[in-house]
């Protein structure tokens, strides 16, 4: 299991893995917003948490289709299916590796992008905290989509279409928790705890669904 984790991590960080491309895409999406809405700093600060969250959501979709596809192409997916370990655990490890490779860099990059959006320290901290607990949910949901589309030649777009509707609750509670930290009357903890609950819920459902789809994808 540890071996699988480190193997996937190495693959995602080294050339062709696309972990850094995700961060670049994230930066590009967030940097495009001021060109679209204009350089009004107050407005940017107000919509900042939402923009950073949407950027993170989109860029976490970016690497999803490669999650199981590369393994399928070089045949290691068949080995994983034949292993004696429960497939659910293998998928869970792969999700964790994918998050460490693709999700965590987004979280780390988010304070810089928060500065782009003229957010204050409190908002940056809250956005980063919500991204930290929210992006694993995106990975777990995405694993189902990636497993469903594993055998498709052009699965990338389809994965995004299938995953986005399910990811909306994560976005809602992530953004509302980030706003609640800044705006006074709303309490920060309830949406934050719901976000954690969503992540834990999908940590169970996501690998289960992905394993089921992987078993059914071939033959």
């Amino acid at each position: 299991m540890i071996a699988l984790l480190s193997r996937d991590l190495k693959l995602s960080v080294r050339a062709g893995g696309g972990a850094l491309i995700g961060v670049l895409f994230f930066t590009a999406v967030v940097a495009v917003i001021p060109f679209g809405v204009g350089p009004d700093l107050n407005l940017l600060a107000r919509i900042g948490p939402a923009i950073v969250w949407i950027g993170a959501l989109l860029s976490s979709l970016l690497g999803l289709d490669r999650m199981f596809q590369t393994d399928r192409e070089d045949g290691s997916l068949d080995l994983m299916l034949m292993q004696e370990h429960p497939l659910v655990l293998t998928v869970l490890i792969k999700c964790l590796a994918h998050w460490l490779g693709h999700g965590l860099p987004l979280v780390i990059a988010s304070p810089l992008l928060g500065l782009f959006m003229n957010m204050d320290e409190m908002a940056i901290g809250a956005t980063m905290a919500t991204l930290l607990v929210g992006t694993p949910a995106l990975t777990f949901i995405g694993a189902v989509g990636a497993a469903v589309a594993v055998a498709l030649p052009r699965g990338g777009l389809l994965v995004s279409i299938l995953v986005l509707p399910l990811a909306i609750p994560v976005l809602i509670f992530g953004v509302s928790a980030a706003y609640a930290a800044v705006e006074e009357p709303a309490p920060f903890l309830p949406p934050f705890l719901i976000l954690i609950a969503i992540t834990m819920f999908f940590a169970v459902l996501g690998p289960l669904g992905a394993a089921l789809a992987l078993r059914n994808a071939d033959d």
Binding site: P165, L166, A217
Partner: protein
């Protein structure tokens, strides 16, 4: 004993010819009853009194509410069929959830459109993003479209069915959210007023046509669903026969 009998009956239907015979017998009756119920329901919808506040716009309810119910029921039927696909590998279940997806999308769209037509005079807006019921139904619509796209993207029908079944089951989390969204988030959309523990709070004057229309919509769904399943089976037969004739033709060329 009775249960094993039911299972035998159900597995008998795995034979498509038997299923087709059943459909041929059922559909004329279902269609006739549906037409009758729609005639009665529409007559009742237009002759009963309008609401003293809403006036005639309350009649939108007789289409909006059944369509919304059907949108959720269709997904539930798809989820049950998905279990049938994954657990029993029942070939009819594959056909069932594939055929139901476009119907579900149509009913959801109908509910959304009539809802926004009703919302404009009553709430003063076509659409609001702040309301959980509206947004969760919209998500349901997107999921239906995604499932249709997935089914079309995979060539092999039985693999498409199994993969789509997984996605249907994962997406089922949305159905309780839709059902209880009006209780959990108290926003624009009103609370449920027909299916309640303490009995319906809606006036019988409105309830009667609503129930008739709901029944008519349900039967309409089942009629269309059976017909769509029949079409799907015929489509598969056609493609199988085409492949067969192509094989025979190529063998003839070789000889």
């Amino acid at each position: 004993m009775t249960e094993s009998l039911a299972i035998t009956k159900l597995s008998d239907l795995a034979n498509p010819t038997r299923f087709m015979a059943l459909v041929a017998r059922l559909v004329p009756w279902l269609a006739a009853i549906t037409a009758l119920l729609f005639a009665v329901g529409l007559y009742m919808s237009f002759t009963t009194e309008g609401d003293y506040q809403q006036g005639d716009t309350v009649r939108i309810m007789y289409v909006h509410v059944p369509a919304a119910w059907l949108a959720m029921m269709c997904y539930t039927i798809m989820a049950l069929s998905a279990i049938g696909t994954l657990v029993w590998r029942h070939p009819l279940a594959d056909v069932s959830h594939k055929a139901a997806a476009p119907l579900g999308a149509a009913f959801t769209l109908l509910a959304l459109i009539t809802g926004s037509l009703w919302g404009k005079p009553m709430w003063g807006t076509w659409w609001t993003w702040g309301d959980a019921r509206l947004t969760s139904v919209f998500i349901l619509f997107l999921m239906y479209l995604g499932l249709i796209a997935l089914n079309r993207a995979i060539d092999d029908p039985s693999r498409a069915a199994r993969v789509a079944a997984v996605l249907i089951l994962v997406g089922f989390v949305n159905i309780p959210i839709i059902k209880f969204s009006v209780e959990w988030w108290n926003t624009l959309h009103q609370k449920s007023s027909v299916l309640r523990l303490d009995g319906p709070t809606i006036d019988p004057e409105f309830l009667r046509p609503l129930l008739v229309m709901a029944l008519a919509f349900t039967l309409l769904f089942f009629t269309l669903h059976l017909l769509a399943m029949r079409n799907e089976i015929l489509r598969r037969r056609v493609s199988a026969q085409r492949r067969m004739s192509a094989r025979i033709a190529s063998r003839g060329d070789a000889a």
